[in-house]
């Protein structure tokens, strides 16, 4: 039955290529032995050299072919084959093995160091040296020559170790290069996908800009002034949206390339919020934002301009995602579970988490930029998340069933150890209470340059 399987395998090499190859090799060995047995002694030696040479060349070539399969078992098999060759030569010639045959022991070492790891290469070196010693002793088993054999074995071991080390380093370098190449290829693919999605997102505001401006141009006389004004308003809003998206894309590229270095300073959150509100498009949007600061909210240790970007994007998105014209609330305070962080939460009534493609932005992975967001809105939140994480905080979405959702993020609290002589924040309102930083911490250095919040302040509505 087994024979039948092999025959089928030989007839259909695609179904069983290994069996086919094995059967072919067995035939080849049988033919070789048969031919060699019928040769004259001199010719027999030449034929033996030829067969060994072909075998060695096969092992050498396949060692360096990247797609050939290699494992530790094969290295052992190659070594055993070398043992068999040498012992056969020893028995056959009666006068000792030609020294070139001992070079065959380099083959399994080469093989293991090129294709396998350090452990396999070292193991193969040890076993090859042991085999070398054994065959050497079999060859000339008198005490005087054994010293010569040992010295040859030592020379072999040293050269084998050097060879193995050389190829191990080479293959390690090659693997590093391959890893880098793959990483680069993945990054380029991600970037192309990102650009393709972003260009798609750009088309949405562009459609309104191109379409309404064209209607204005073509039908100026047919449109009454209020319609003209309406069209111009749409063009203006969409142009602003487009400008924001371009800004977001540039920011993402900047963060992605690692070109953004934070210039941290101690900052008061309510100042940052006020600054961020200046980015809002209309006074109506500003009216819709309710800000509440928990009493004693400490200063945060942030890059002021980048954090304004975070706040403006989060507020802008919450306003856009909230139910029509409903106010949104921003609250800030300490994080119970982490005393080193300050939490900011923006609650939007009616905000539907599933409504927009926000899941990639707030997904479990920290690699926000590799999960390229697919909507223009998510693009802004992706920038916010990247910036928050660059500050050492985290950002997440709380879905409060039926009432809306909240975008939350944490920021590091300013502590005295963060202060450096270069970082001095001017206190333009020093009269407000400069005895402490935020919650009443005193500055070890005795410096009073950072504006402080009074510890017992009531919730602070900005409007």
């Amino acid at each position: 039955m087994r024979h039948g399987t092999n025959v089928r395998g030989m007839l259909n090499p695609t179904r069983a290529p290994r069996e086919t190859i094995a059967a072919g090799l067995r035939c080849l060995i049988l033919i070789t032995v048969f031919v060699m047995a019928r040769l004259q002694p001199d010719a027999r030696t030449t034929a033996f050299d030829l067969v060994v040479g072909i075998g060695a060349a096969y092992v050498l070539i396949t060692t360096f072919i990247p797609w050939s399969r290699y494992d530790a078992r094969r290295a052992t098999l190659v070594m055993l084959a070398v043992d068999v060759v040498l012992i056969t030569a020893l028995i056959q010639t009666q006068t000792g093995v030609r020294s070139e045959y001992y070079l065959l022991y380099y083959l399994p070492i080469l093989h293991a160091s090129v294709r396998l790891n350090f452990r396999d290469a070292a193991g193969t070196c040890v076993f090859a040296a042991a085999s070398y010693l054994l065959v050497g002793m079999l060859e000339k088993p008198d005490a005087a020559v054994t010293t010569t054999v040992i010295s040859r074995v030592l020379t072999f071991s040293l050269s084998a170790a050097l060879l193995a080390a050389f190829f191990l380093v080479l293959s390690h370098e090659r693997k590093d290069y391959e890893r880098l190449t793959n990483h680069y290829r993945d990054a380029m693919r991600a970037k192309s996908e990102f650009l393709s999605r972003v260009s798609h997102e750009f088309r949405t505001p562009l459609t309104a800009i191109v379409g309404f401006s064209q209607l204005l141009y073509e039908h100026e006389k047919d449109l009454d002034p209020s319609r003209q004004h309406e069209y111009l308003s749409v063009v203006r809003e969409q142009a602003q949206q487009l400008a924001r998206m371009i800004e977001d894309m540039l920011d993402i590229t900047r963060i992605d390339d690692g070109r953004l270095e934070l210039q941290r300073e101690a900052a008061k959150l309510s100042d940052l919020i006020e600054a961020a509100m200046m980015f809002l498009d209309s006074p109506n949007d500003r009216e819709r934002l309710r800000v509440t600061m928990q009493p004693g909210t400490p200063f945060v240790w942030v890059d002021r301009s980048e954090l304004e970007q975070v706040l403006s994007r989060v507020i802008h998105n919450a306003l856009a995602l909230a139910e029509e014209q409903k106010p949104i609330s921003l609250s800030a305070g300490m994080v119970d579970e982490d005393p080193d962080m300050v939490r900011v939460s923006v609650q939007a009534p009616g905000m539907n988490v599933d409504e927009e493609d926000l899941s990639p932005v707030f997904g479990p992975s920290a690699a926000v930029l590799s999960e390229r967001p697919s909507s223009g809105r998510a693009l802004g939140l992706a920038v916010a998340r990247a910036l928050v994480e660059l500050h050492g905080g985290r950002i997440w979405l709380d879905d409060t069933e039926g009432t809306g959702a909240a975008i939350n993020f944490t920021l590091p609290k300013y502590t005295a150890k963060d202060a450096s002589p270069e970082v001095i924040v001017s206190d333009e309102n020093s009269g407000e209470g400069a005895e402490a930083y935020g919650e009443g911490e005193s500055d070890d250095s005795g410096r009073r340059s950072v504006r402080a919040e009074t510890g017992a302040r009531q919730p602070e509505p900005l409007r």
């Binding site: 088309r203 459609t207 379409g211 064209q214 449109l223």
Partner: protein, 128 residues
């Protein structure tokens, strides 16, 4: 059908300012668009592809599988420019694919062409 109100307004105004007379109906998602289309049985439907929940291509397939809507012409108006999307839309039964941004006059021309294919043309188009 488009989830972006400004895009719906642009299509509506492009058609109404063209000088032709259309009855235009709007929908902002796939489900309400299908209900509207089955109720109104329009001559032409303009669909966006990328929509929350039910997108334009499933709506397109639904229209084509409805025996009462066999004469309805479908125009896809989408920001997706990939050939896969265009092929998928045309396979689903759309007769034309317009990419955003578009020129209003070009959209009107496509609607007129689509209306010319319908058996009776009482100058009625629907932007569902």
């Amino acid at each position: 059908m488009d989830d972006d109100p400004s895009a719906r307004k642009l299509v509506r105004d492009s058609l109404s300012l063209s000088g032709d007379s259309y009855d235009i109906f709007e929908a902002d998602d796939g489900r309400s668009a299908l209900d509207l289309i089955r109720a109104v049985r329009p001559d032409v439907v303009l669909l966006d592809i990328t929509m929350p929940e039910v997108g334009g291509i499933p709506v397109c397939s639904e229209i084509k599988s409805d025996p009462l809507l066999t004469d309805t012409e479908i125009i896809i108006v989408s920001a997706r420019t990939e050939s896969d999307f265009i092929a998928e839309s045309l396979n689903a039964g759309a007769s034309t694919y317009v990419t955003k941004p578009f020129q209003p006059a070009d959209l009107v021309r496509r609607v007129r062409q689509a209306l010319a294919k319908t058996p009776e043309t009482p100058e009625e188009a629907v932007h569902a």
